[in-house]
Amino acid sequence: MAYARDLDAVRKLIASHKRWDRAFAVVGMLSLMTGILAFTTLFVDMAIDGVPRLTADFFTSFPSRRASQAGILSAWVGTCLVMLVTAVVAVPLGVGAGVYLEEYAPRNWMTDIIEINISNLAGVPSIVYGLLALGLFVYQFGLGQSIAAAGLTLALLILPVVIVATREAIRAIPQSIREGAYALGATQWQTVKDHILPYSSAGILTGVIIGMARAIGETAPIITIGALTFIAFLPPSPVQATPPFISFEWLTSPFTVMPIQMFNWTSRPEAAFHANAAAAGFVLVLMTLAMNGLAIWLRYRLRRNIKW
């Protein structure tokens, strides 16, 4: 009664199963190629339309009604300033929260609530953060439609990313290292400051880079705050010639950022502006690619070097 005795029928059956097997391998490879092809097409399209516009003038001119004279000066300066605020807010808050949750937090309901919130916030659409910013930061707190409001909003947006990256980096540190430090008489903070943070810094950095890469490309929350789309001036400089040498006026200044400038140009019907938009988009894609690539490379290096 054994099936195997009828070897011929079995062989036919196996051959038909293997055909399905091979067919799926092909389908899988094709699907993978579709994703890769889509990305390449997008990149090449941006390059073809945009690279001709990437002159030095493009980076040093303000937007203008004439497409050929328009540039992204105000946009990329605005992006840099907003990213500065985002980093200054998100990194201490995110790393601090991560350290607290991994090293200090007791297993009680408060900690549970915090953790639930973090995982929830990771799934909230970015435009809802924009509404939060509009209602609370711009009006209720009176920050106005400013760089400060934008930076703060983006910081909250990427906070879950930084927190999760910090926690994972800290979790990778074996308990024996902590015990070694405590056994020598170190306090909890000393252990964190001298051991936990330094050893997890590469992993944390990876998370921060990924978060910043995300923040650079975010448009919706910033539009909602009311970043104006035609800005032909620069915010006041953070450094000035007269004492006290550092100014905070730029924080409350109106501004624009790269994604918004691109959005503005894309929405114009004239094809010439589309070329500008492609150029701005190309720069954006390069920047986010570079940052993501850096983070991926860092993670790879980490895995190879750290052997506990």
Binding site: H17, K18, W20, D21, F24, A25, V27, G28, M29, S31, L32, G35, A38, F39, L42, D45, D49, P92, L93, G96, A97, Y100, A105, I114, N117, S119, P125, S126, I127, V128, Y129, G130, L131, L132, G135, L136, Y139, L156, L159, T187, Q188, W189, A213, I216, G217, E218, A220, I223, I225, G226, P259, M262, T266, H274, A277, A278, L284, V285, T288, I296
Partner: protein, 316 residues
């Protein structure tokens, strides 16, 4: 001689003990303070959620005092800025649902197939190259995707179907789908890789092929992870803004036909934000009501995903 030394030592010892005690107390205070600061940092996430809920509910409350919930849910027109204003969220919802359906029709099959392929079929080299590539796909700014949808995908679709309007939900949906593929594939693949090798060996030992093992054993075993990947994809599609704002147009249009332009909940909020609405006007409040609808939906998705993971947590 030894007695004096001892007394001297004793006096020295007692003073240093009290300074030691003082130092210790100070250190404990500092430690406690640091812990509180870190706790406050962690609390920010709770404050953020509270802030979001507060502002959405506060403005929506004012809104719903002027517009009944029944009208909001059943009216078939959305014209908040007209004299004869209508506030039917169904109009915006139809745009959101249609574009998300197109996106998921692409992302879920492709994402799952890619995940199965990478997890069960692909040699190590291919995995190592493909995974970062897919991550990069997910890292492209959505405004760039929007540009791509409007100025590359739509013209190509129009070549096949010349009557396609310049703004349409189909190109937006297709590009959104491509953007979501990495979310679906990477979470599904992680879930499949977590299935222990012993289950696969059991299947291979019965004479099954890779395809049979993947479909009959690995995918069912990774079910909860794969389902939560799908739910994440849905949540992402519904919440997407820029791709739709740029390429689907911002005209509210009650339709389920992807070949038409339409506004989604998210695109509407952008449209209002671009304009100049006085703070406190009903137009201003509509975006918070729309935002509240959006938030409730994504919250429901999160909870569903969480429950799924809990209920079907396979104990290996």
């Amino acid at each position: 001689m030894s007695a004096t030394v001892t007394i001297q030592e004793a006096i020295l010892a007692s003073t240093s003990t009290s300074t030691r005690l003082q130092k210790r107390r100070k250190r404990i205070l500092v430690e406690k303070a640091i812990e509180q600061v870190l706790f406050l940092a962690a609390l920010v996430s709770v404050l953020t959620t509270l802030g979001i809920v507060y502002i959405l509910v506060k403005e929506s409350y004012v809104f719903f005092q002027q517009v009944s919930i029944a009208d909001f849910l059943t009216d078939r027109q959305w014209t908040p800025l007209f004299d004869d204003a209508h506030f039917g969220i169904l109009v915006l919802l139809s745009g959101t649902i249609t574009s998300s359906a197109v996106a998921l029709a692409i992302a879920i099959p492709l994402g799952t197939v890619i995940a199965i392929y990478l997890s069960e079929f692909a040699p190590f080299r291919i995995r190592e190259i493909a995974k970062p590539f897919l991550e990069l796909l997910g890292g492209v700014p959505t405004i760039v995707y929007g540009f791509f949808a409007l100025l590359f995908v739509t013209p190509i679709l129009q070549w096949f179907y010349p009557e396609l309007p310049g703004f349409n939900l189909l190109s937006a949906g297709i590009v959104m789908g491509i953007m979501i593929i990495p979310y679906v594939s990477s979470i599904s693949e992680d879930a499949m890789r977590a299935v222990p090798m012993s289950l696969r060996e059991g299947s291979y030992a019965m004479g099954a092929t890779r395809f049979q093992t993947a479909v009959k054993v690995v995918v069912p075993a990774a079910f909860s992870g794969i389902a939560s990947a799908y739910i994440l994809g849905i949540s992402r599609a519904v919440g997407e803004t820029m791709i739709l704002a740029v390429s689907a147009g911002m005209q509210p249009n009650l339709t389920f036909n992807p070949l038409e332009p339409a506004a989604t909940i998210t695109a509407y909020i952008v449209q209002v934000a671009l304009g100049d609405l006085p703070h406190g006007s009903i137009g201003y409040q509509t975006i918070f009501a729309a935002g509240l609808t959006l938030l409730l939906f994504t919250l429901a998705c999160n909870i569903a995903g969480h429950l799924l993971r809990k209920r079907f947590r396979e104990a290996y």
